[in-house]
């Protein structure tokens, strides 16, 4: 298996309106890819398609070598458990401790009571493992802090730690740096790309910040109006390509 994600003419429509369509895309198991494009281009839908939280309404989609179409929910849970997802709004439980939020990352592998015990009465080796991951993301001292006492940047690291504790084979990140200042944003993107390289994980991240995308990712996917407009090695892309991607005058203005 050499592809983490493989999409052929994939499409998603909500109530008859196409959110994304005609998506052809393959991402290798150790590849890092950034998705760029204006708001509403379908970046989030594409990412959610990749972990099966949005089901495709057309085309073919395979994740970690397995076709998602018509996959029964139990197996779909298994696939989701292998994919970490870092959300724009971090999606942590604010009044739980950091360790509990991180421990809840492994729910996909556990039964109901097993997962409750794991989160609230974790075995010693699980605590050590969480501590190691927090060390890697730079906040080991926050292990037992309540999550809502942390700063925005620290909470982001908790969300990353939770995704890593999942022991995923691929990481998806949806605008992970949209709510932090530029210096933190750079650190976070660097951390995510480094961690994925160390662990051999596929990474697919949507980014508003073009400079960060061009600095950290060897391959960029440009999306607009639910379609892929370019999919190129970063080095081959010119300023003109980006201008065309974000330029509103061309088609959107005519349509309106």
């Amino acid at each position: 298996m050499s592809h983490a994600f493989e999409l052929k003419q994939a499409a998603v429509s909500y109530n008859g309106t196409a959110a994304v369509h005609g998506i052809d895309l393959t991402i290798a198991t150790d590849e890092a890819v950034a998705v760029v494009g204006p708001s509403g281009a379908g970046k989030t839908t594409l990412l959610r398609l990749l972990n099966g939280t949005v089901r495709s309404t057309g085309g073919h989609i395979a994740v970690l070598g397995r076709s998602l179409r018509e996959m029964p929910p139990r197996e779909l849970r298994g696939v989701r458990a292998r994919i970490g997802f870092i959300h724009q709004d971090l999606s942590l439980v604010p009044n739980l401790r950091v360790i509990q939020n991180v421990l809840s990352g492994r729910v996909g592998d556990q039964g109901f009571f097993g997962s409750l015990r794991h989160v609230f009465f974790p075995p010693r080796d699980a605590v050590h493992e969480v501590h190691r991951i927090l060390e890697r993301v730079g906040i080991p001292e926050k292990l037992y802090e309540r999550t809502d006492t942390l700063s925005g940047g620290q909470r982001q690291r908790v969300a990353i730690a939770r995704a890593l504790y999942q022991e995923p084979e691929a990481l998806l990140a949806d605008e992970p740096v949209s709510s932090v200042d530029p210096a933190r944003a750079r650190d976070t993107v660097a951390l995510l790309t480094d961690v994925c390289r160390e662990r051999g994980l596929a990474l697919c991240m949507s980014l508003h910040n073009l400079d960060l995308a061009r600095e950290f990712f060897p391959r960029l996917i440009g999306m607009r109006s639910g379609q892929i407009r370019f999919d190129q090695p970063t080095a081959k892309l010119t300023d003109g390509d980006f201008e065309a991607l974000y330029n509103l005058e061309r088609d959107e203005m005519l349509k309106a």
Binding site: P73, H87, L116
Partner: protein, 280 residues
């Protein structure tokens, strides 16, 4: 401008309804002043506030202060027993009456279809039971039990637990539904099933508010427990009623002061606890 006008109309309508109700019921300021026959009682009762009885006014030698302590202790016990039962009712019914457990991400198509039928059915039943429990006040429950079985300690606890359980369930279900769902969505994305999403992603976020509300209801349960004494169980209300019947107002005030003290202590305690759970 039109918006303000409409609001003014609503306020006028409410005020009008209040005046009409007062006129219909024949309310007037004169009613607040006791008439000549009652004036003696009135003065006697309120002057007794300055001399609460420590010993029985009937000369039986009974220690009223001790009796008040005993009544207070039993008031607390009944409130605790009633609230414990109400919490169980509230958590179970509150879970089923929240929409969070049956709406949300569709799993398989067949389960989704099944859930579309069964979900609203269970949800609706839970809401109906809650409404029934809540619409009957604890005093009326106590009256019903008294008529049906004679009032025992257990009946008094049930009389308290049923309406309180209903109220807790209603508020709990709303708190669960209002809790942010993003953490639950994230867990679902990590492969969690429905129950895991609920108990790990949703419930922990709602828990501080639920605990805070339960503390508040415990204060209410203390007062209700005292009132249940009027039906015969030996809480403060029981002793107040007995002393009142024979016009031993000094004793009545001793019991009332015990009730004030109890409610104030409970308020301070639950205030401190609430502060810790919500703000920490």
């Amino acid at each position: 401008m039109r918006h303000v006008g409409r609001r003014g109309l609503v306020i006028l309508a409410i005020a009008g309804a209040g005046v009409w109700a007062a006129w219909y019921l024949g309310l007037g300021p004169a009613e607040l002043w006791p008439n000549k026959n009652r004036l003696g009682n009135f003065v006697e009762f309120f002057s007794a506030a300055f001399s609460p009885a420590v010993e029985s006014q009937g000369g039986s030698g009974q220690n009223i202060a001790l009796q008040a302590l005993r009544g207070t202790w039993l008031t607390v016990l009944f409130a605790l027993a009633g609230m414990s039962l109400a919490l169980v009712v509230g958590v179970v019914l509150g879970f089923f009456a929240s929409s969070a457990w049956w709406t949300g991400d569709p799993a398989s198509r067949s389960w989704r279809r099944l859930r579309r039928v069964i979900g609203p059915l269970i949800f609706g039943t839970a809401r109906l039971v809650i409404a029934l429990l809540r619409s009957v006040h604890e005093i009326i429950w106590a009256t019903l039990f008294l008529a049906a079985f004679g009032l025992s300690n257990a009946n008094a606890v049930f009389a308290l637990a049923l309406p309180y359980g209903g109220t807790l369930a209603k508020i709990f279900s709303e708190m669960i539904d209002e809790a942010p769902r993003s953490a639950g969505h994230a867990l679902r994305g990590a492969g969690a099933g429905g129950a895991q999403v609920f108990f790990l992603g949703l419930l922990p976020g709602a828990l501080p508010d639920m605990a805070s509300y339960a503390f508040y209801r415990f204060e209410c349960a203390l007062r209700a427990s005292a009132v249940l004494g009027f039906f015969g169980v030996e809480t403060l209300g029981h002793f107040i009623k007995q002393s009142f019947k024979v016009h031993y107002y000094g004793e009545v005030w001793t019991y009332l002061y015990a009730l004030f003290a109890l409610v104030i202590v409970a308020d301070l305690w639950s205030g401190a606890l609430r502060h810790r759970t919500v703000a920490a």
